[in-house]
Symmetry: D3
Subunit: 138 residues, 6 copies
């Protein structure tokens, strides 16, 4: 059967600031600018979660999108939505929550939890409508 | 000359339901949920048709987009727009009209009809603003 | 307190065809064109539901958007989503499901069900990304 | 000369949480749900600033959009962008930063600062792609 | 019958520059900035054409959208698309092609050409995704 | 460290016409249609500039997006915005300004100017909301 890629787009809101606790405030401000402001800001994140696999000849699906939606809800959105990424997410602990670090951390939370025969293919994470990061593993 | 990819985005509306005639209603409802509802529903489909080729040094085009637009109109949109995908499209006969099956069937209708030197590279088919399927052949 | 308008955007999919059972097939085709095709087609509907009221000085809300979301889910989306508008919705019975008729019928289902002090102000209903209808009552 | 409305769309990011310091944590959680989470979250805000006036027969403009853009930058965006709305904005002090309260506070910062002959007509403020608030004064 | 508003969104591309032939180049540059550059630039214009009227109880339409689409094509798009607004459009002659002047000129081309019982209600014209002008007559 | 792709979306407006000076007007019109109209038209161009590299373990960035934004502003936007692509851009001289030719010329202006360790990965250039061209080098 043909191999296709299936995507579910999801949405959530988080707070964060970019900074390293081992740097001075001046150094953080110099490197991260307004993103280091101490009281934090936040974003409406959009993410495209793409999986790949053969079409099941019985159903015509690669996978039931409800399975993918529930997986992302359970392992990602329920942890990040309306949360502060610097202090409330155990699996982001010690990471500066840039879009780059965030997309890789999300990948690691998802890659081994897909149904048999389906692989995680690509994540695209928008921090704003003009900036986004893609990760395909590796 | 440089090899680039050129995309035309198209739009149409169809009706469908997901079900297998060889399954009971209960089994269809269990596997496809509301998508199996007997009177059918429908979608505003959006599709990006991407072709690849060398830029023609004479025109600066890979191909005249009007050629691509007319091809997609003739072989795809005129068959699907304002039609029911379960019963009105001979080349979908016997297929459960999931987005996955639909994108592969569209690929097969287009791949051998492009001008010389131009290949079909990728189809991206949105069933809703949050769900889409990609196919690159193979 | 200031009077403001608050909007929730919702999304659903339905099937329909435009036709009058008291007209011949030829007359339906002449007036409604491809929209009258007998096996039906469908749409991804988007709707902006706008309510107006004074800001509650205690909460800073006109109303909790969850109340509005649940009301629209209960009285509209649960009836229309993945349904055929010609045959499966009792409160659309006898209506030709044009966008105009649909938006007025939805208005009537919502206007008397809002919390005290909040009024229905405007509905905007997109049938496709290029066509929409607005209703403000009256 | 004809009277028209001219809009500039702007974008910024802020952090916030919804809560009242005079309520218990339990009461805040009950009324504002996840929006009351203590470490805060944030949004990519989009706002349409609409002004009205007669077309200047000399320039063909109601006003130079650069004037409007600079005014919004100076009086609004430079105060809100990458800031926490609960603690860093003097003119929001004492306000619970709901979208409703925010749009009214922004109106009051802009209404008396437009060039002669131009009036503030409407603000539309999106907190997420699915929720927005409009204010027209009064 | 209920009175509703129906909108068709249209798209075209034009070239233009902002300048007054009776001003010096310096004065044009001072007032219109880069928009006065002598070789011109252009835009992908988007316009929402909104009409209002009672729903026809026979068809469920305010008007057949094909009639509106053909009217806009005939009286507006066929004159503006792929044209230079400074020199190729007789009904824009002598006008500086700002978005404000353009929307009023388009209104005057459409207002008396609608079917009986239908009135032109509103035009919204986007020059860029961040700037738009609205006109409602008067 | 993980290798990710980072994208900045940019926007500008230009004027152009498609034609070859060594062809007759008739031949230009025959091949390029309305795009060859002698007074020119124009577009709101959108472009996604994607770079790839390892995440810097110190900052959590592949690169500071401000560096990418300034590079694109300096080498591309300041040359193209509000300019005519046929006559005002030295590095497009002698090129018919099709989207294909434009994206390759932009690639060549950017590829050797990125910070060490970062490579240009992909350009996607929209000429209209329905037509776009991608280039990945080679």
């Amino acid at each position: 059967m043909a191999n296709v890629r299936v995507t579910r787009r999801v949405h959530w809101n988080s707070g964060h600031r970019l900074y390293r606790p081992d740097w001075t405030d001046e150094k953080n401000q110099e490197v991260f600018g307004a993103c280091a402001n101490p009281y934090g800001h936040g974003h409406n994140y959009e993410m495209d979660v793409t999986v790949a696999g053969a079409i099941d000849p019985e159903t015509g699906y690669v996978l039931d999108l409800k399975v993918l939606k529930d997986l992302v809800e359970d392992r990602i959105l329920s942890h990040l939505d309306h949360r502060n990424l610097n202090v409330e997410v155990p699996w982001l602990e010690g990471l500066n929550p840039t879009t780059e670090n965030l997309v890789v951390a999300i990948w690691r939370r998802l890659e081994d939890h897909l149904p048999a025969g389906v692989v995680l293919e690509r994540l695209v994470l928008w921090e704003t409508p003009r900036n986004y990061v893609e990760y395909t593993g590796g």
